[in-house]
Amino acid sequence: MILEVKKLLVGYHKKPVAAELNFSVAPGDFLCIVGTNGAGKSTLLKTLLGLIRPISGNIIYQVPSKEIGYLPQQNRIPKNFPASVLEIVLSGRNAHRSWRPFYSAEDKRMAFENMERLNVLQYANKCLRELSGGEQQRVLLARALCAGDKLLFLDEPVASLDPEATADFYGLLKTLNESGLTIVMVTHDEQEGLENASQVLHVGNPNFYGDLEEYRARFT
């Protein structure tokens, strides 16, 4: 198992927002986290990423936290920020830099490799705001993969994309998953979003964790 969650209660100020959660993620899994607004999906994700503390329970990672990538919700990125695609992708390596003030040749090689993998290499010197929504998501995905290419967390990655870009993005995730990347995705999109899922975690009344088929059988 790459990640095991046991009897986890998440919430703010000691007030749990969801019932106890139990689930696990094996290497190569594609876990989708679904649930209505306010059910606690984002709180769970923040807790898994270590941004807030769990109220109780255990989160056990079998990968070092440096090997974890994260794609935040898109509206978090400031609009007028002057930053080139290369600078953004490279900043994914920041946690690997440790005490060295500058990025190594290896860091740069990884940045270029991931830009090529996600087909944004030609935009390396462009500013993020000059790109389309789908391209921006691919750039941020390249940054996440620079941070870690074992386990990837995504928070509503297609929320601001048009249908075509959404389909592209899901195709990309499928390829990455098939090449061995473990994916945990919070999503609203219960149709196409779940198609690639191997497991589904439903947060909220009632909590559910199981295979996609089981989930579809129970909730539709």
């Binding site: 990423l49 270590g50 941004l51 936290s65 440096k66 974890i68 994260y70 935040p72 978090r76 990125i77 400031p78 007028n80 920020f81 002057p82 930053a83 080139s84 600078e87 953004i88 900043s91 994914g92 920041n94 946690a95 830099r97 003030p101 500058f102 990025y103 010197n125 462009k126 500013c127 000059e130 940054r143 941070a147």
Partner: protein, 279 residues
């Protein structure tokens, strides 16, 4: 024109003019680096209110008859900076009102204290020169110069060594946090650096004009460059350029140093804005 040049070269022979140049350039360099951090984190207003706090602190120092007011100004301003960053939990959204209160409160109390305790004859002149900068940049002692130079080196070193973390944090704080960057520690250091630079920059342009030195170069640079590295470098160059030109003009024409520097900054901002429109 040759006359002006000659007059200027004449001035340059004096130690106090040389010191003014060195200190002015170092301070504006630091202020522009600070600006890059503050503007992109939407903390522009922080610089402004801290400079008012520094004014209040200076009044306290004057009332207590401190010979070196830096000893009061630095710690008080640093404390307030830390408090302001904390109160907003790093985002400053909730800290909006507390910033405004601290800012005007310090101005009012500062003026009150100066009125009550100042033994100098020309009080309004004193107040005016602390608010809008004085010729004190031309009366720096060598001790001040050394102090200011060491601070500048520290700020530049901080920025160079932590450049990549600074970028990661101001571009996407959540991502940086999730990947293990110590964001709280960084905020604390940023607060201290901000306070220190503002206290020193006050001597150059005065308390009311400090934030101009912080904000203008970055905003102008944003109109010319699209990458973070480009904007940072350009902000530094513009800031140093504006200050140098400002000091030269101020010496030659006899205008107040602070406002002249800010005027040059405004001019550059206008030019870069036009340049972007045309492009």
């Amino acid at each position: 024109m040759p006359d002006l040049l000659e007059t200027f070269l004449n001035y340059l022979q004096y130690g106090f003019v040389q010191r003014a140049f060195v200190v002015g350039i170092l301070i504006s360099l630091c202020a522009s680096l600070l600006g890059v951090m503050l503007v992109f984190r939407r903390f522009s207003y922080l610089g402004d209110s801290l400079s008012h706090v520094a004014f209040g602190a200076m009044a306290i120092a004057a009332a207590l008859n401190f010979t070196d007011d830096l000893l009061v100004m630095l710690p008080v301003t640093i404390l307030c900076a830390v408090f302001l960053l904390r109160s907003g939990n790093g985002t400053l959204v909730k800290g909006d009102a507390s910033i405004a209160m601290m800012s005007v409160g310090s101005l009012a109390m500062g003026y009150l204290l100066m009125n009550l305790f100042s033994k100098k004859a020309n009080l309004s002149g004193d107040v005016c020169s602390t608010l809008f900068g004085s010729t004190s940049i031309l009366t720096l002692s060598s001790f001040d110069t050394v102090l200011c130079a060491s601070l500048s080196v520290a700020v530049i070193l901080f920025f160079v060594l932590f450049y990549n973390s600074i970028f990661a944090i101001i571009f996407d704080e959540t991502f940086a946090k999730a990947s293990g960057v110590k964001v709280e520690r960084f905020n604390l250091v940023m607060a201290i650096v901000t306070a220190a630079v503002i206290v020193f920059a006050m001597r150059l342009v005065g308390s009311l004009l400090v934030s101009a030195l912080i904000i203008f170069p970055t905003v102008s640079a944003m109109r010319l460059f699209k990458s973070f590295w480009g904007v940072t470098l350009c902000a530094v160059v513009l800031s140093v350029f504006c200050t140098a030109i400002g000091i030269v003009v101020a010496i030659l024409v006899g205008t107040p140093v602070g406002s002249t520097i800010v005027a040059v900054n405004i001019l550059i901002f206008a030019l870069t804005s036009i340049f972007r429109r045309v492009k």
